[in-house]
């Protein structure tokens, strides 16, 4: 918030209060906020241990309980993601910060206007000039523009980076389950409450935009940014006994789409398709039809095994590679044909 502020200490005070990224509550001081976060958002539901950050909790869950943390507990629906590393006020994305401030400002002046209307008195300390315009840190238009630019950039990133994967997932609620889904896609900090820019105009991708990640100040110990997550010390968890061969599933670069199939990503229950049998997976189906070849369905002539392999190559081109792609013959049937397993019936 680089702009020169002047005017009301009142709203300045309110704006200066530390608040929680996950639930939007505000607190007297930073200490209270941090202990709130540890108790409400970073507490292990298996053993009660309180960690400093969501990343720390994720590491703890992995190492101590052999589980993956899905999402941040008690968080607003679009703030449950693990990609953003929050510690106190550290790590709150710039645009979320703006949004929060805008909300405070709006609420403040709404309340003031209501008071004024009720009492008939001018606001204290005013010299007749409407205070609202002067006090604003940023006009709503400015904020909207910022947000729009950012969104356009995100959209571009998505289109460029995540093509097939994201495109094949219905982004919006086709199924009744989606509305109630506890796993709204966190989208690496790019999901905002719909309050902001309605119908953001498409901006050229070259445009600069506020960083989604905290700029500047180095995070406090134990609150490394999401980018550093894998390298960080295990935040109070016992030393990693078994170094896992695979990369930890809970981190990904905020700049690209989260890997589907991981916590909170849209490939979980989010895209539950009700009545799958009736509706089918339309987009998947289109892809498949385009590829031809695979004819799911009864009565279809059994395809040859070799066909399955060709299909898998096509799938790869289509950005979906099935590890096992034969639609007629099971892995067990193929294994049964291998010389080491084959059983010859004695005559």
């Amino acid at each position: 918030m680089g702009k020169k502020k002047r005017g009301h200490p009142d709203i300045e005070e309110i704006l200066a209060r530390p608040w929680c990224y996950y639930c939007e509550r505000d607190f007297e001081d930073l200490k209270l906020l941090i202990s709130h976060q540890k108790a409400k958002h970073f507490k292990c539901d298996r053993c009660g241990k309180r960690l400093n950050t969501a990343g720390g909790l994720s590491v703890h869950m992995n190492q101590v309980h052999k589980e993956s943390l899905d999402k941040v507990e008690n968080a607003l629906p679009n703030r449950q993601g693990l990609e953003i590393e929050i510690f106190g006020m550290e790590g709150v994305p710039e645009d979320v910060l703006q949004q929060h401030q805008q909300r405070i400002i709006t609420n403040f002046y709404t309340a003031q206007a209501e008071r004024r209307a009720a009492t008939g008195n001018p606001p204290p300390g005013q010299n007749g000039q409407g205070p609202a315009k002067k006090i604003k840190i940023e006009t709503p238009e400015e904020i909207k523009r910022r947000l729009a630019v950012h969104r356009a950039k995100v959209a571009t990133q998505k289109a460029a980076g995540a093509n097939g994967a994201v495109a094949s997932m219905p982004a919006d609620g086709q199924s009744p389950a989606q509305g109630a889904s506890p796993f709204p896609p966190p989208q690496a900090g790019f999901s905002y409450p719909p309050a902001g820019a309605p119908g953001a105009p498409p901006f050229p991708p070259a445009q600069t935009y506020p960083a989604a990640f905290p700029p500047g100040p180095s995070p406090p110990p134990g609150a490394a940014s999401a980018f550093n997550l894998p390298a960080r010390p295990p935040s109070g968890a016992p030393p990693a006994g078994a170094a896992l061969p695979q990369r930890p599933p809970y981190f990904y670069n905020g700049a690209s789409a989260p890997p589907p199939g991981y916590p909170g990503s849209p490939s979980t229950v989010d895209e539950l398709v009700a009545g799958a049998a009736r509706q089918g997976d339309d987009i998947d189906q289109l892809i498949r039809m385009a590829e031809k070849g695979i004819k799911p369905g009864k009565g279809a002539a059994p395809t040859e095994e070799a066909g399955g392999e060709k299909k898998s190559k096509k799938d790869k081109e289509k950005n979906m590679r099935m590890v096992y792609a034969d639609t007629e013959v099971s892995p067990e049937e193929k294994m049964a044909l291998l010389p080491k397993y084959r059983f010859a019936i004695e005559a």
Partner: protein, 350 residues
């Protein structure tokens, strides 16, 4: 809250695991069938984080499935050698119950009706009364069976060409008693809710429905009741997928979902995939409850103990398209997870 623990069974099979199953009346007893031609019996030692090998039962050929029978010492196996066998786990005695004309893929035992059903790649089911010496009755199937599971009153058979037949167990029991195979018709014939080859079927312990999974990283949940209302409840979702590295073209790597099992107490279910992960799902609330740390290889089989305390996870390399030198040797493991008190407890429908 009791913290959960996880440990490995001693002396795992020497090759790929085909099935895992806990005893219905002796919750710490675990049977494992393997492509190494053996069936293994383990005993989980409470509080010791240990599962000991009690015995093993050698077969002539790879064993594709195993289940418990009427008591803790009775088991049945499905052999690649086309035989359905009964094993006395106490004495090791093996009895051939029937022979199919192709490999036997699955066996299920219904304790409620004392019926053993075997499903074979010869496109048939054999219905056995294990306590009688009468030959089984045969039911012809329209396709090759790949997965089968029983609920208290139903048997679900998933076949090629997305065929799913559901049989009514009381009906089968009375047909078996009267020896009339012709009276056994599927109670329902369905098309799979999934577009690709079925990998696994599991039935809800409350007899209300079942889940299926396919080679294409997807699970469907549906209900038996044939009303529009019940059928409208069914759903499917993607899972067991991973983003491919950008330098390999990005997109999704889609793994088969090899295993499904319902929690006997809470009715939640676990899925295990070729991606080496196990996830717990709340079928009612339609949400993923947990995803466990990745296992070193593909998850081939899953089973909850009947008291819901343990989850057994069979891990071995997955068979992928185009493989000609498959081997699970040295990489086959059985993990046992002692669940925290509420670990598998769903929150119920929202």
């Amino acid at each position: 809250m009791a913290p959960s623990t996880q440990f490995e069974a001693a002396q795992p099979p020497s090759d790929a695991i085909s099935a895992l199953v806990f005893s219905p009346d002796s919750p710490n007893r675990l049977l494992v069938s393997s492509w190494d031609k053996n069936v293994y019996l383990y005993e989980v030692v409470d509080g010791a984080d240990e599962a000991k090998l009690v015995n093993q039962y050698e077969h002539r050929a790879p064993v594709l499935d195993v289940c418990f029978g009427a008591n803790r010492d009775e088991a049945f196996t499905a052999g690649l050698d086309q035989q359905v066998k009964k094993i006395d786990l106490a004495t090791g005695e093996q009895t051939v119950l029937s022979k199919h004309s192709q490999a036997v893929r699955c066996v299920v035992f219904s304790p409620e009706h004392s019926i053993l059903i075997s499903a074979s790649w010869d496109n048939s089911l054999h219905i056995h009364n294990p306590s009688s010496s009468d030959p089984p009755i045969t039911i012809q199937l329209p396709g090759k069976p790949h997965a089968m599971a029983a609920s208290p009153s139903k048997v679900v058979v998933a076949m090629t060409a997305r065929l799913v037949h559901i049989y009514d167990l009381p009906n089968i029991a009375s047909a078996l008693a009267s020896g009339s195979a012709s009276s056994i018709q599927p109670w329902q014939q369905r098309e799979s809710s999934l577009k690709f080859l079925t990998r696994a079927v599991a039935c809800m312990p409350n007899d209300a429905g079942y889940a299926t999974s396919s080679i294409e990283g997807r699970v469907a949940v549906e209900w038996f009741e044939d009303t529009a209302e019940s059928q409208a409840r069914k759903y499917a979702f993607k899972c067991h997928r991973q983003a491919a590295p950008e330098d390999e073209g990005g997109g999704d790597i889609v793994y088969p979902v090899n295993a499904l099992t319902f929690h006997p107490v809470y009715g939640t279910f676990a899925s295990g995939g070729g991606d080496g992960t196990v996830a717990l799902w709340d079928a009612e609330a339609k949400r993923r409850m947990r995803q466990y740390q990745k296992f070193p290889d593909s998850v081939a089989a899953l089973a909850f103990s009947k008291d819901g305390k343990y989850l057994a996870i069979g891990v071995c390399p997955g068979f992928e398209t185009g493989m000609e030198n498959y081997s699970g040797e040295g990489k086959t493991k059985i993990f046992l997870r002692e669940l925290g008190e509420t670990e598998a407890k769903g929150k119920g429908a929202k």
